[in-house]
Symmetry: C2
Subunit: 505 residues, 2 copies
């Protein structure tokens, strides 16, 4: 019952198949945009709720800022900032009118409006009105919003023109405090990825040429997908006084002197869902970590004889009530009873492809014996794929089972990550040979053909050219540095900086 | 300590003052758009959470659809639908480029994109792909999203170019089922307005000329503001097969015949917050119903002597823990301890203007005696405005107090609504005279100068002209009809239909 495309044969097509068969999202008639369907959106809601709690518990408050940003707000950035991205949706008219039977844009705006690609510019403008004195600082806000970047090669969840995200924006009275905030939120992202999405990440600083335009420092969390490519899962930026200077966010400091504020910004998006898919899904479809599964348990009634229906449904109702009081991960358990008019086998495969963590199949024989058949998604294909246990055992073990699934999913991904960071490549020649190969699916328990390389980098401009030519990137400069002398894997020049090299999404 | 503008003197300016002094929202540098600030957004989050639960408990699922809708999707509507609104934001370019040192729109799109004013068109397009057979129906979905309508006279919360809302969209196999859905969600809106926002509403059907373009029937909930004007708080539309025909949503019915689906849509927006303000706020500022207050209780430490600080804070910490276990309205209680470096008097007035339902002031004397000073926002200005009670009494009464505040706010607004629907105006002459007057603030306990009139309407086209000339509207055709014969209050012609006349926001 494997998907039409499996990882080994065609990894990119397998990804599309997982998304389609799990009914998580689809391409829309709106070019380059996606429809996020209930199962995909339900996962996003869980991610949002978990991270929103974190945002609030660290004293940030949610706001909402306009999605239209006047063109002039970008003028300064475009003049001064290298790498200013210009692929943006531009609103130029505010009306439609009918001309010769055809609708056409009308009422041209005096100043075009940009649909936010990110909100530093418009939020800094508000901060400049809110902040007068050091007493008004810090300002710690966040918004959950849609943003638009005009991608030319859209891929569901990974790269669509419109996507959903959260963006935190803060202003502080000292650079130290702003840097601490930047790293605090980076740490919150690591925690979100590892402890909620079961997706292990590497943490570090971006090299100069990969920084967010206008940032002093960009920090990131980077995950390894099952094909050895890297996925940037989240970024946190220390912006210094750069945006404060453009938007004039000034405050009177304790010495009664005017000073520009120090700002930060940080975000994660629906792209995380793409990361979850490529971390956990298999050839049978999606596998959702229990913490973010819209339903952690799906109950499928197995009615072979219409006369048994009442007895089975009564028994299921009892099972359901006994489970409903449980609090896996300290939260209300999420259970779906699938009563649709469909065969139980079809239902099983549908929920399997969606990656529901636990499926319970319950028929007349189970009801009579006080049992349930339990199927854990991560055990599919192993001898333990289906087990009959008593209702009592189910009730007593369900929390632990869900917690174990979450832990095992993380451990498996962590193992894959740790086993596939090469640290033994020491020359530009070996490095070239390694990355001359294409990325392929990393089979469980086997070494990756191509994945991450941890090695030296000299930082010279010519090394950036080599990166482009090889179509690889420096994912991050890890915080822990060996400080040993070595040879740049790109240029062969002497170098001490340790970096992570990889292909990436 | 009243606001700079009070209701009696200038009602519209009072409204602006409430929003500003409660720090709920402000105008943005993005023309016609608002920044929703933490206190305003916190109220929206509460409304969203309450209604989201309702949406899910009635079997709807959340999705997310693209905000860009190709222009061609509107072509048919524009040709066939009377009253098709054309004020929309139009995206025509996908890039900025620098020309002579100035950023200008570049990369013109082949087809312009409209920023969704509502999503019937793009969602119907998805439905047409999802629905094949009667077995695929009903489709019951909802999204929480931003939408844009090019308002020329924006007002915070009431009418801004961009606003936040939820829009439900459903498709059914029979008109009966779709009509039931339309009325079920109308009822959900009534429940939300009355039981969550403490804002009583009238319920009914819109007259033909006030319907959503393309709808068979539009139903609405209408609230009365403190100046006697109506606010449309939510609408629910039965769309028949109109949108199914444009988008080709067809299914094979049980008789094995192809048939167009029957669809509905329904929405409420951040406009509700404007309604809450104009229902509950007073000359001292905002008053937030406890069910949607971001903080239901604000604790202000009163430290007159630095030496007392530890004792006071310890005592507050105990009070807080004892309150933290309480579940007003079956939900976690929301408490804010305001530790800012500001005078307690300033803090009190700030939270009063924000409308926090209960403020506790706690100083050394209270700590020593085991007391707290409790101030309920709705009692401000009365002899019961501040009361000292024991910590024990506070703990035992807090849930009931919050529930009482919620109930009293509703009762007061309900009284105002019921007392100000005139039913004794029976001639066009009296009606004319009545609406020749301007709307004014309805002082507590006094009769409105101008508010709602319940009376007859003939439905003739000429009556619509008279409505326009008088700048009044028919808010709804109530479900309960007297069925008596009478005289149309506009034309003087014989009429049997009872309608609600009012000026409106």
């Amino acid at each position: 019952m494997a998907l039409k495309k499996i990882r080994k044969d065609n990894y990119p097509e397998w990804y599309q198949a997982v998304v389609a068969e799990a009914d998580m999202a689809e391409n829309s008639s709106s070019p380059g945009c996606m429809v996020i369907k209930p199962w995909g959106y339900g996962i996003w809601e869980r991610i949002r709720d978990v991270f929103d709690e974190k945002i609030k518990s660290t004293d940030h408050e949610n706001c909402y800022f306009p999605m239209f940003i006047p063109l002039s707000f970008f003028q300064k950035e475009a003049e001064h900032v290298d790498g200013f991205a210009k692929e943006m949706a531009v609103v130029t008219h505010s009306r439609l009118s009918m001309q010769d039977g055809k609708l056409v844009p009308d009422s041209k705006l005096e100043e075009p409006l940009i649909v936010r690609p990110t909100s530093e510019a418009i939020i800094a403008d508000s901060f400049s009105k809110w902040v007068k004195s050091y007493r008004d600082l810090p300002v710690l806000i966040n918004q959950w919003a849609n943003v638009v970047r005009w991608e030319m090669r859209p891929r569901l969840f990974l790269r669509t023109r419109e996507f959903l995200w959260q963006e935190g924006h803060t202003a502080h009275s000292t650079p130290k405090e702003a840097e601490e905030e930047t790293l605090r939120m980076l740490d919150a992202y690591k925690d979100l990825c590892e402890n909620t999405l079961a997706m292990p990440v590497l943490v570090g600083r971006k090299p100069e040429h990969e920084k967010f335009p206008g940032a002093i420092d960009t920090y990131c969390v980077e995950a390894m997908m099952q094909d050895g490519k890297a996925l940037q899962a989240g970024t946190s930026h220390f912006l210094g006084q750069n945006f404060a200077k453009s938007a004039n966010i000034t405050f009177v400091n304790k010495q009664n002197q005017p000073e520009y504020a120090y700002t930060t910004s940080w975000g994660v998006s629906t792209r995380l869902i793409g990361g979850v898919i490529m971390t956990h899904a298999d050839d049978e479809g999606m596998v959702v970590p229990p913490k973010i599964a819209p339903y952690q348990i799906v109950i499928i009634p197995v009615i072979k004889n219409q006369a048994d229906e009442d007895a089975v449904m009564d028994y299921i109702s009892k099972i359901r009530s006994s489970l409903a009081t449980k609090l896996p991960f300290g939260d209300k358990i999420r259970i779906k009873l699938d009563k649709r008019d469909k065969s139980s086998v079809d239902k099983f495969w549908e929920w399997t492809r969606k990656g529901a963590p636990i499926i319970l199949e319950i028929g007349k024989r189970d009801a009579d014996a006080g049992n349930v058949m339990i199927k854990e998604r991560i055990k599919l294909g192993t001898p333990e794929a289906k087990v009959i246990i008593s209702a009592n055992e189910l009730e007593n073990s369900i929390v632990e089972r869900l917690e174990n699934i979450q832990a095992q999913m993380f451990d498996k991904a962590k193992e894959r990550l740790e086993a596939n960071i090469r640290t033994d490549i020491n020359t530009a020649e070996d490095f070239n040979e390694y990355f001359a190969q294409s990325n392929e699916w990393i089979e469980d328990g086997k070494a990756a053909k191509v994945a991450f390389v941890r090695g030296k980098w000299c930082g010279d401009p010519e090394s950036e050219e080599l990166l482009k030519a090889m179509k690889i990137t420096i994912r991050c400069i890890p915080f822990e540095q060996s400080k040993t002398e070595g040879v740049c894997l790109l240029t062969g020049k002497p170098a001490t900086l340790d970096v992570i090299y990889a292909r990436s999404y």
